[in-house]
């Protein structure tokens, strides 16, 4: 069993605090969002800055690259969702309808719709095919800030600070809500789309059955009380990873819920953003103004 346990690169992003780091679809590149209003495209394997995308008016909090690697969407504290063209670096679209900071953005599988979760308690679906400036639909069931959004082929998953995970199933036309008890910092589908990984601010990561809402497993040991800390699964869905407020990344076994390893970043700062390589045991973590690349030495 191989997991990323060796730090191979430290990327100094030079864009203020790195709010988010995310692999692109194939894992060759990564995006970082900085507090200096920029989004940067890197080759994390070579520690190479490829492009800087400017167009936000305030800190960028999340970015996601489209499936064809042609576009990047990002959302930030300027309440806007921006669509960048990757090659030219131009701002293609700018969606301004959110009433507050956009916490999270996400493309759908076909990269035709951007979903953005905001502090204004809503998830908005933006059509990038049409020229409309209004969202297609506003999912405003959340009672508090939407902190995390993920999309599968027919589902929209959102985690909110009102302690509920909401899953909108477009095929069934149903909304499923699961109460977790504490404000949710991150929600992730498992790769088989049967379960949902939920990290909440009561310092637990829970694996919840998608259909019944039952908790299948619970992962503890890290520290997550006040920050919006990401969690993720590894490329094979065998391990659960989560950042922590004590400068570590915790890796648990998914089934046994045992702590496998902790990645020490030699800092006391919060590791708040994680991104796991889609096919290899490779992890990107973001802490303060740096991005760390972790690989397996097995």
């Amino acid at each position: 069993m191989a997991w990323p346990n060796k730090r191979t690169q430290i990327i100094d992003c030079k864009q203020g605090a790195v709010r988010c780091v995310k692999f692109n679809v194939d894992g060759n590149y990564c995006l970082t969002c900085g507090s200096d209003k920029t989004v940067k495209l890197w080759n994390p394997h070579k520690n190479l800055l490829l492009k800087t995308y400017i167009g936000h008016g305030y800190e960028v909090l999340d970015a996601h690259s489209s499936g064809d690697n042609a576009h990047i969407c990002s959302g930030g504290m300027d309440k806007a969702v921006v669509l960048f063209d990757v090659s030219t670096g131009q701002t293609v679209r700018k969606f301004r309808d959110h009433a507050g900071t956009v916490n999270t953005v996400c493309f759908n599988e076909e990269s035709t719709v951007i979903l953005s979760g905001s502090i204004d308690c809503s998830v908005r679906a933006w059509d990038i095919r049409s020229k409309k400036h209004e969202p297609i639909q506003i999912l405003n069931e959340a009672k508090d800030s939407v902190t995390s959004v993920q999309v599968s082929d027919h589902e929209i998953l959102s985690g909110s600070a009102d302690s509920k995970v909401r899953r909108y199933d477009l095929r069934m036309g149903k909304m499923f809500s699961d109460y977790v008890g504490k404000p949710i910092s991150c929600v992730r589908f498992t790769r088989d789309s049967q379960c949902v990984l939920v990290s909440s601010t009561d310092t637990t990561v829970k694996l919840i059955d998608k259909d019944s809402g039952e908790m299948l497993n619970q992962y503890q040991g890290h520290k997550n009380v006040s920050y919006k800390i990401d969690c993720c699964l590894n490329h094979q869905d065998t391990q659960v990873l989560s950042g922590s407020e004590d400068g570590k990344v915790f890796i648990w076994d998914l089934v046994e819920a045992k702590l496998v390893d902790t990645l020490n970043h030699e800092t006391s700062r919060t590791i708040h953003s994680l991104s796991f390589h889609p096919s290899e045991p490779l992890l990107l973590t973001a802490c303060a103004d740096k991005v760390f690349v972790w690989e397996s030495n097995h």
């Binding site: 297609i136 639909q137 302690s163 149903k174 109460y179 809402g213």
Partner: protein, 949 residues
Amino acid sequence: MATSSDDSDENDFIVIGTAVPELSDDQPLQKPTTVQDQTATDKQGRRRFHGAFTGGFSSGYFNTVGSKEGFTPSTFISSRQKKSENADKIFNTPEDFMDEEDLEEHGIAPRKFATAVGYTSEERKRKLQDDVMQIASASGLDMTPALVDFIVPEQIPIGIQLLCKMGWREGQGLGPRKRKKRKKQSSKQTNPSIKIYGCALPPPSDDDQSDSDEFVPQNLENIKFAPKDVCPIALEVKNDVHGLGYHGIDSSLALPRSHIHLFPPPLRSSGSRKGIQGLAFGVGVFEGEDENIYATDSLSNYHTTMRLDDEEDNTFGWTAPRQHGQQTLPVTYVGKLLEGFCLSSKPLQPRKKYPPPTLPQNFKPQHWFRKKRVLSHLPDNLKNNDDTQAPKKLTAVDRGLLLGETPIMKSVFDLVQKEDMNRIEATKAAIAMSQTLKDKAKNELSSRFQTVETHENPPAKVIPLEEARVETLPSTFLSKFKPAESVATESEVKGPASNVPLFQGGLNFQPFRKDPAKQERYDKYLALVKQGVKDPYATIASSHMTEWEKSREKEEFAKAAKIFRPMSAMMSARFVRGAMIDDEQMQGPSNSSRNEVNDQTKAAEMGMFGQLTHEVFEWHPHSLLCKRFNVPNPYPGSDVIGVPSIKRDKFSVFNFLNFNDYQPSDAIVEKIPEPESVEKTLKPNRKTTMASVFKVLDDPNFNAPTQTLVMGDSKGLTDINMSEPENSIEDEESKPPDMDLFRAIFKNSDSEDSSDDDKDESKKASSGEDERRESKTLTEQNDSDLEIDTKDIQAPAVQSVEKLKETYTNSAPESGSKSLSWKRKKSRFSDLTETNENDKIDQIIAEKEDALSRLTAPREILHQESDDEYGPKLPSFLDPPSSRLHTDGVESMIEVKHSEEKQGDKKKDKHKHRKEKKKNQKVMTPVIQIFKLNKGNVFYLVDDLMRIL
């Protein structure tokens, strides 16, 4: 121009204005030259351009070098004598090359008067400073500039300086010097031919003669004197209607100098020059340079009186013979006859005069109102008061008294309703009594006996009951302040009270006023209902009515009694009091959402994720979103987008209008809560209202039987049930389980419906929940058979105890109708009239529970079993300590609250606190919702009322 035909004998008329030239027949009419045809010319007759077009030179005579006389070349003369002359003649200034035309107004170098160089304001200021410096230096003092500033040289205005130069001295008047005339000369002026009788005419006022009273010596006749310095009296025309000497506030004086007048008073007399005003409009060529058009016009420019200013000019424009008036002046006429006017021969009728009334001797110029007249129609007692005092303001009560109404109320306490008053009284008495009772209680041996004793008091009297409560809850009694309904019923049965007119309308509403007999029956019916008579209509039904009519009227009465409840009762039925939150009323639908939230949080805390925390809503995605996701629209043709908000009116009027016999509901009917001490000692299980699952879970008595069941001892249970001696149990068991109970436990805002699906769902929920309590598993399939078991067995089992109790209670005095809800039965159950019965029931229940607990397997074994099978252990607090075995519902509720508080304490950072606040808000909302819904219901009620009427 005025022309005067001066033939004195024939012309007595005046001609004013320009005479139109007489038309001669042979001459054709000439058209007046239009403005365009007119041309402006200069002195040489050349066309002169005006304004901006004036420019250009026109030199010489018709642009020749010469003059009118012709060109004369200058001759050069050179001689020694005339050298200088020649030198002077050389033109060297521009003016030398100009003729007078150029120097005219329209020429290229017009000349005008201007202030001389030394007299401009800057120059004068400079001069002033020079003077100051001179004085300063002359004084020989070393003056600092600051001191220099203090020196102000005497400033004489330029006008006075000029006057002085002209020979004017201070004290003299202005004007040319005049020769003094003798006094006697004045008489020469009057015409000697006129004889004057009686009083002498006043001397004609003439400036020359005005100062003739001065003594002028003879020899100084030829000396000219300066005129006297007299301030001319300015006589102003009175043009307002104010009193003499009164001036309104002059804004220019009243306001500070810096004030800007936004709206200066209009000075111009309107109509003279319409709109054309200001510098942008120049003077036309033919208009001439008339009087200053840029100055604002004022009345002073016009003659306001028909008086001649000048003696010399006095014939100007006037055609009247000059001597005419003087000759015909009658003797009686006093004063100067106006020039040009003659006296009329017919004297005017003297205006009729109305002399002012003669004042009485003792008149004082002050007004007193006569009091007697004002107060003459008032009663005497009021008059007496007002004679001495100043008239005071009348209040509404006073006015009512004056109009002969009987006083409605005297104090605030009259506003308090009768029953409330009684309650206050009762409270007072109770406090006093409790004091004495406490003293007595000290002498008693055990407190338990005492409570039983108090309980056994006849419940008809109110005060002992209150006593008992005071005894058990002395501190909280006043805060609770429960309505003493029994008192209310007493007063209401008595009929309308003597003076409660404020709320009378609500109390004595007579829906059948048109039919007095029917109304009478209705009144009787109400009275019977309040007395708690079973089937109240049966006794009052009139004999000569058909069955159908009877049944109809019965229904009608029931409806009316529902609707025409007194308003206060209606309100109290709707609003939850803060003190009653823990009571049975909690179970109303209003609390569902709160319970739900509590359930969810508790479930989350326990890690019991699943049924309790999982919710499913219908959600309509936008069709475009479906298209973009490549997913067929799940609701084709649906217009709704998002979660369709299903907001059913849970407190709808239809929930209340079930047309059974009108049972005086919990709000009106006496529902005297039992003393809680009795409850505690005798009925540990009574309070399990099932408002929340966790109450049930916390309750050890609840746990015990169910765990028995999980062990698979389903047969044992049925045996137990079967072995119960009551027949009614079978009836109850055969019926579907009470839905209210399920609803209370598994409240789901969406699925809360009275439909059949709901039953299944809630059943499932209960089973699932129980199963979860027993076993926490990752996979469900291996205990599916167990689930089936529990499904079959547990749902009824959970209720068996409750059911049993209800059965017991309902078997007591009246069973009413079967469709009565569980809650209502409970309120009936708590009726004090049945206390003795209840005691028995409680004992039976206690016995039964004992039996059940004996059947319960040891807990440890059970848990081990479950551990082996299903992984993680149960949270420790599911395992209640033995001391809590006999806690009733209230205490368990309190514990829940405590745990919530602890949980709150854990949260430290601000972020969390915000969340916490939100949570609290959410908890608060249901109460508000109740209010809103109830408001709506009131309207519903009114609507229905109208419909019925």
